[in-house]
């Protein structure tokens, strides 16, 4: 069953198109990773899904309802980001107390235990917390609401590695106990790959790819070997990425469906097949630059 449906969404800020022709569906009880470079519209998309902002055109439904100004959607969804604000006069305990009254499925016990585990003093004020601690609290808040649609926008920004690991673990454990639809936008795809079932990749405001993680892992293949041999074998094929490793060695990434080569022949010519990680593939698919940063320094 689709919980989130978007059809041809477009969002303009003045004359700039932040999102265009966005069409996808997200199934119930799945964790989806929303990835893409900076400024590709991830935050805008999440804000539209949460009902914080309105799309310029197109249709968005969450639980079959338009999210903007909808009480039902608001009661069953939450957007967690590092811009979350709470009244300055509330301490963390006040915020959690009010959450009990607002959210029907709020798990006060879980929130209290997580607060204690992450050493957040319930009497401290949200605005006094460091960036990492603020985001840890926001994460706890989002997890404890147990909303059927939980949207995390860069939830781990500012957290140290140990906290990030704990956060991933907490998210996975709670999701397994209480399955729900979760979308996480993050630049740390490598770290959280084990959590995700689907990937929604945005590039320049458009959906570049929406696939399961398993499909993504099989989407591309890397070839490493002598430059001349690789150039010969890949002639006429769509190259997703290529890089000169050393003077006569080259690394090339191709779509797996195009690789109908005889593996033995390639091996004889010194070319090795390499798997391409989901994170690398997302980078290659969204890289519009020619060359890399090294070329800036090489005249």
């Amino acid at each position: 069953m689709s919980v989130i449906q978007c059809e041809n969404i477009e969002k303009k800020f003045r004359k700039k198109k932040a999102l265009q022709n966005i069409t996808f569906q997200i199934e119930d009880e799945k964790i989806t990773g929303l990835v893409g470079r900076n400024g590709t519209g991830k935050t805008t998309l999440l804000r539209i899904l949460a009902g914080f902002t309105k799309q310029t055109s197109g249709t968005v439904t969450v639980f079959d309802k338009t999210p903007f100004n909808n009480l039902f959607v608001s009661a069953n969804s939450i957007l967690i980001n590092d811009q979350m604000q709470f009244p300055g006069s509330f301490n963390l305990q006040d915020i959690l107390n009010y959450a009990t009254e607002f959210y029907g499925k709020w798990d006060a016990e879980l929130a209290a235990r997580l607060l204690q585990y992450f050493r957040l003093n319930p009497q401290s004020y949200h605005s006094d917390l460091s960036k990492g601690m603020k985001n840890t609290f926001n994460f706890i808040f989002g997890l404890a609401t147990r909303c059927d649609v939980t949207l995390f926008d860069e939830p781990i920004n500012g957290m140290d590695e140990a906290v990030r690991k704990d956060v991933y673990r907490a998210l996975l454990k709670d999701y397994l106990a209480y399955p729900r639809t979760i979308i996480i936008s993050s630049h740390f795809l490598d770290e959280m790959e084990h959590l995700l079932e689907d990937i929604l990749l945005l590039d320049e405001g458009k959906v570049a790819l929406h696939k399961s993680l398993d499909e993504l892992r099989e989407y591309a293949v890397g070839l490493l070997g002598p430059t001349e041999a690789i150039k010969r074998w890949t002639a006429g094929l769509e190259v997703l990425h290529e890089k000169q490793v050393v003077s006569n060695q080259m690394y090339t990434v191709l779509k797996a469906q195009d690789c109908t080569f005889n593996e033995q022949q390639l091996l004889q010519e010194g070319i090795a097949f390499m798997p391409v990680s989901a994170n690398d593939l997302c980078l290659y698919l969204t890289n519009s630059r020619t060359g890399d940063i090294d070329d800036v320094f090489n005249e």
């Binding site: 919980v3 608001s74 979350m84 604000q85 009244p87 009254e101 607002f102 029907g104």
Partner: protein, 244 residues
């Protein structure tokens, strides 16, 4: 998947409680403003003196004008403050819609206006007590809540509606500013230029005349003005996007 179904009324109730708690700090500002009002009322009475060979009369008139003016200014500020981006974003982590949030703001502003009206009225009594404590002073007009309860209630209601009206205007202008600063500039410019036209002056004087007719006509004018501001502001809030 079991979805939560909350009614508008129950969510609004929680939201009003939340906002009242959030704006509790405004009460501190009100107290400060009213202390200043009391001091200014005591310092600047309007008076007249009459001296003859046998009698020396010095009459001083203390009015709550300064107190009301400062309380109105406070209400205007609170109304304006509630429309700011960061203030509106405070409710967004919780269950809400823009229209509900705006209705919640209106309820809180009404509650704060009632509180401000009562404290302004009581501050007026503080002024009277201080005057009485001064030597050689006699109160000529000493109606109080026990000797003339109807006057007390009339004044109290007038105070509350007057303060609420300023809060409503602040909320309305704040919401217009959030929508478009240009529109706000045009509204303010049109309002002030109207005051210089005979038509605008007629409307203003007519409204003041109706308001001066008695408590009920004053209340009517204040209610119509406040309700219009709140309704337009709530309508505008319904379409406002929230940062954060």
């Amino acid at each position: 998947m079991s979805l939560t179904n909350k009614t508008f009324a129950e969510t609004l109730q929680v939201q009003v409680k939340f906002k009242l708690h959030a704006y509790l700090g405004m009460i501190v500002y009100l107290i400060m403003v009213q202390i200043v009002g009391i001091l200014m009322s005591l310092m600047g009475p309007t008076g007249m003196s009459s001296v003859s060979s046998f009698i020396d009369i010095n009459a001083e008139m203390y009015t709550p004008t300064v107190l009301i003016f400062l309380s109105n200014l406070w209400a205007f500020y609170v109304g304006l403050l509630m429309t700011r981006h960061d203030q509106r974003a405070d409710i967004m982590p919780f269950v809400s819609t823009r229209i509900m949030s705006s209705i919640g703001d209106v309820v809180v502003l009404v509650a704060l206006a009632v509180y401000a009206g009562i404290t302004a009225m009581l501050s007026n009594y503080v002024v009277r007590i201080v005057i009485l404590l001064k030597s050689n002073k006699h109160m000529l007009s000493d109606e109080n809540m026990f000797s003339a309860p109807e006057v007390f209630i009339e004044n109290l209601v007038a105070f509350i509606f007057f303060i609420l009206c300023f809060a409503a205007v602040g909320y309305f202008l704040g919401m217009i500013a959030q929508k478009s600063k240009k529109v706000l500039f045009i509204i303010v410019a049109v309002f002030f230029s109207m005051l210089f036209t005979s038509f605008g002056q007629e409307i203003l004087l007519g409204t003041i005349k109706i308001a001066q007719f008695g408590l009920f006509s004053f209340m009517g004018v204040m209610i119509i003005l406040s309700a219009s501001c709140f309704i337009v502001a709530t309508f505008l809030a319904g379409n406002l996007e929230v940062k954060g």
